[in-house]
């Protein structure tokens, strides 16, 4: 007596395969939906920006006259700000992840911190703007300079970097650290020589994705009070500044007054997208370069 009836099986085979094919096309359409929206978005932006991206636009100073406006100031602002965000986030983020994963005793205290970090990753970015305004701009009397903006964005992406680094550290197989401890290595020697090198690709991928998010953030910067129009180029992290997403925001806002501002916004979006594309390619390159085999 067989429990699986061959006749029944072949009878149901048609429905089973049809179901499989139906779901396959459903999942494909879900993917297609995102792709189409993205393609339309990029198409619109590129069409609007045609003829507006040239050398003068890239290297020129800001101006109220659309034909003479350039975004070098915003590019430099974004660049300097990343010079603050990247080291601050990497050092604090990886440090926190190492402590929580490898040193902290598992218990109530650690669980509370962990829950808070996960929750912080979901707090709206404008709330971080208010925090930055209160602490850096007002309480520490920095004013709306690059350092204040950079620190605010660091706070914003710190939870993402911590969680990504924790996951990367957790993914390092235990047998590798056991081998190191077994030879008399201290915890720090094991972390430095075995765990961090193995976790590095994951940490860097998470960090660069988080940095990409920081580059595109607008809301916290508006709250801090980045000026709409600023002529001199920033020369260091203590200067006042504007950044690429801010420029997009203000030009879009004012495009009802001057129609050409919409084209300037589109051109700036293209520049920002290219920047992000370069950054993400770097992330993939770094991940592949440091990927270890085990």
């Amino acid at each position: 007596m067989k429990y699986i009836d061959a006749e029944q099986v072949s009878k149901r085979m048609g429905t089973r395969i049809a179901k499989n094919n139906l779901l396959k096309s459903l999942f494909f359409m879900a993917t297609l939906f995102g792709l189409i929206v993205l393609a339309i978005l990029i198409y619109r932006v590129v069409v609007d920006s045609v003829g507006w991206i040239d050398w003068n636009f890239l290297t020129g100073k800001l101006s109220t006259a659309a034909e003479r406006a350039g975004i070098m100031g915003a590019i430099l602002g974004t660049f300097w700000m990343m010079l603050v965000v990247a080291p601050v986030t990497l050092i604090l983020g990886i440090g926190t992840a190492i402590y929580l994963e490898l040193y902290a005793k598992k218990g109530r205290f650690q669980a509370i911190i962990q829950t808070n970090i996960s929750n912080l990753a979901g707090v709206p970015s404008i709330v971080y703007g208010i925090l930055g305004l209160t602490i850096f701009v007002r309480a520490m009397e920095m004013g709306n300079i690059i350092l204040a903006g950079g620190l605010t964005l660091s706070l914003l992406i710190l939870p993402i970097v911590i969680v990504a680094a924790q996951e990367a550290i957790r993914a390092v197989p235990g047998f590798l650290s056991e081998a190191s401890y077994g030879m008399g290595a201290t915890k720090w020697q094991t972390i430095k020589n075995v765990i961090l090198p193995a976790a590095l690709p994951g940490i860097l991928t998470g960090a660069i994705l988080a940095l990409s998010r920081a580059i595109g953030e607008t809301a916290p910067l508006t709250v801090i009070g980045i000026p709409a129009l600023i002529i001199p180029f920033p020369e260091g992290i203590f200067d006042k500044f504007t950044a690429l997403p801010m420029q997009i925001y203000y030009w879009t806002l004012d495009s009802s007054l001057v129609a050409e501002y919409a084209n300037l916004a589109a051109a700036t979006i293209v520049v920002l997208l290219l920047l992000l594309f370069v950054l993400n390619s770097a992330a993939i390159f770094i991940r592949n370069k440091f990927q270890q085999r085990f």
């Binding site: 081998a179 190191s180 401890y181 077994g182 030879m183 008399g184 201290t186 020697q189 085990f294």
Partner: protein, 278 residues
């Protein structure tokens, strides 16, 4: 030799580390002396009143069914067991007369004297050279020439030098499983230990690689004391001088290997080695 032993004993008595009786009893060729060791993982009582004496330059095999505590005992000897946060121990283990379970004894120092080879080959995802040089480097050796010498000596010691000497800069994961395990043994030799703990070192290997490791163990015992946990009773019979049979966290019988396998005194030992359970 005997003078040295007497001196050591006197200093031990003076330090008050050990009582006089055990100091007198401890002779120069005991490496590990375990007294009334009990170990808990949380609420689970994993080792019960273990008393074992392990001699220098011998192969001591630990056999027993899964979950009998044999790996736990092995990992207590270099305190790797402490990587499990809920572990609690009572009793005493001395390594060459010094208590190792005290908080005052440095676990990093113990592990440079007591190396370990794991069940699954676990080379680092680094070059063959860097794998061997890892131990010497963490203990502060930076000189390239000395490192070169240690790498060659260790690889020769594990009989893998001829197979890898032309590819020292290649990733260790390009080696076969058996080669990886001999590389891990070489890596342990590089820290110049006195004792090598082996936790089922051949359970992930094919018969041919297993035989190579067994031959290697026979060679190594001239210079090192070896404690090997194994599931394979033939292996224990082939390579060990003494065998301990563990069951449910207790040592049922500990004797010269021939005696254990030919005329065991405990019925449970006889049942186990004749394959009636386990």
């Amino acid at each position: 030799m005997s003078l040295l032993t007497v001196k050591e004993n006197i200093s031990m008595v003076n330090n008050g580390n050990t009582d006089i009786v055990s100091a007198v009893q401890s002779n120069s060729n005991v490496v590990f002396d375990t007294k009334d060791l009990n170990l808990w993982y949380g609420e689970t009582h994993a080792l019960k009143d273990i008393n074992l004496t392990i001699n220098e330059k011998e192969v001591t095999a630990i056999i027993g069914p899964s979950g009998c505590g044999k790996s736990t005992y092995l990992k207590t000897l270099n305190r790797m067991v402490e990587l499990v946060p809920t572990v609690r121990t009572t009793g005493e283990i001395t390594y060459k007369g010094k208590s190792i379970l005290d908080k005052s004894s440095k676990v990093e120092e113990l592990r440079t004297h007591v190396g370990m080879v794991f069940q699954k080959p676990n080379p680092f995802p680094k070059s063959i050279y860097d794998n061997i040089a890892y131990g010497p480097r963490i203990h502060g050796i930076r000189n390239k020439k000395i490192l070169d010498e240690i790498v060659e000596k260790s690889l020769r010691g594990a009989y893998i030098w001829d197979e890898v000497k032309d590819r020292l800069k290649e990733n260790a994961y390009g080696l076969s499983g058996g080669q990886q395990q001999r590389l891990c043994i070489a890596r342990t030799l590089a820290i110049e230990p006195d004792v090598i703990l082996m936790d089922e070192p051949t359970s992930a290997l094919d018969p041919k690689s297993t035989l190579k490791i067994e031959d290697l163990v026979q060679e190594l015992k001239k210079d090192y004391s070896i404690i090997i946990v194994t599931h394979n009773m033939q292996q224990a019979a082939r390579i060990s001088d003494r065998t301990a049979f563990f069951l449910n966290g207790e040592v049922v019988e500990f004797d010269v290997t021939d005696t254990i396998f030919t005329k065991p005194t405990d019925n449970r030992t006889e049942d186990y080695i004749s394959g009636r359970f386990g």
